[in-house]
Amino acid sequence: MPDLLTYLGCGLAAGLLGGYLGLGGGVLMVPYLVVIAGQNIKMAVPVSIAAIAVNSLSSSTEYLKKGMVDLELVVVLAISLTIGNIVGSSALQYVPMDFVQILFTVVLVYTAVVFLKGRKKKDHPEGESHTNTHLVLAVILALAAGLLGGLVGVGGGVLLVPALFLVLRLPLTTARGTMTFMFGFSAAASTVVFLLLERIDFHVVGPVIFGILFGAKLGGLLGTSSKPLTVRIIFFVVLMYLAVRLGWEPIGRLIG
């Protein structure tokens, strides 16, 4: 019974954070499962990937209801992010890991600071077509986010939400809504791989998914009605946390 509550809590917390910020929630789920639930990281990752697919479904419904999902961009971004991710994870053996982690840390810190400051330019007008330049820019951003994410083993969402807001000038809620809708596709594909490899622990994934169903719904509800500054502050904390987690060891080796 204590296990059940721990896993439910994991799903609930990850869904709340992920649905609110437009992220998958793996950034919280994996450390939670490893540190609090005492799971092996090789088991925690497949569980979190399967739960992320549910997070996408549950939280994006709230964004969809309020017209905060840019369906045109969803498909373009999903394809580019997935291709970027494949290239990134394939290139893993050819690039020095310390260099990649430090590069990603620098990008995260820069993104966090710029994102917190916000932007002065107006939002992209609602209901207006994206120009070809806009779409090409979206493809480049998603490819870059996917590539970097694939290299360090995190989803590209942490970089793509700020990029959609800062570069493509999407309203912050639309950037998050679009992300929540699309990350479910690649998560489902990875889930199939873990199913085929028999790496999903179904004793753990069940309660986590039940928790995430509610957490993501609540996160989506809160996310559609929250103030942009609040979202940017919480996002800043998450980005800085990731930067420290990824950059601590390689920067320590570089200095020491």
Partner: protein
């Protein structure tokens, strides 16, 4: 054109149906967990299969929305997305 111009009613309904179906599955998983964790794990397996199948249906419904909204480019991109995702599965599995 942004997502607002494409009617999303069908997609929202699909999401709601999927949400309740997944809810029933995983409610059963949690209810059985303290008594028979193996049975609960077997139900969770089918729940995960349902989630994957639901994602494929989401892409199909999305493509249908684009077709009805006369956006052939986006409709074709949904097909590309499915191919890319299937390709990912093969690449990662064979790796």
């Amino acid at each position: 054109m942004t997502g607002r111009r494409i009617p999303t009613g069908g997609l929202i309904r699909l999401h709601q149906i999927l949400w309740y179906t997944i809810f029933v599955f995983f409610l059963a998983v949690c209810a059985l967990y303290p008594f028979d964790s193996d049975l609960s794990a077997r139900i969770a397996f089918w729940g995960v299969i349902l989630i994957v199948a639901g994602t494929v249906v989401r892409i199909v419904v999305l493509s249908e929305l684009f077709r009805r909204a006369r956006r052939p480019g986006l409709w074709a991109l949904c097909g590309v997305l499915l191919v890319v995702l299937i390709g990912t599965i093969f690449l990662k599995y064979l790796d």
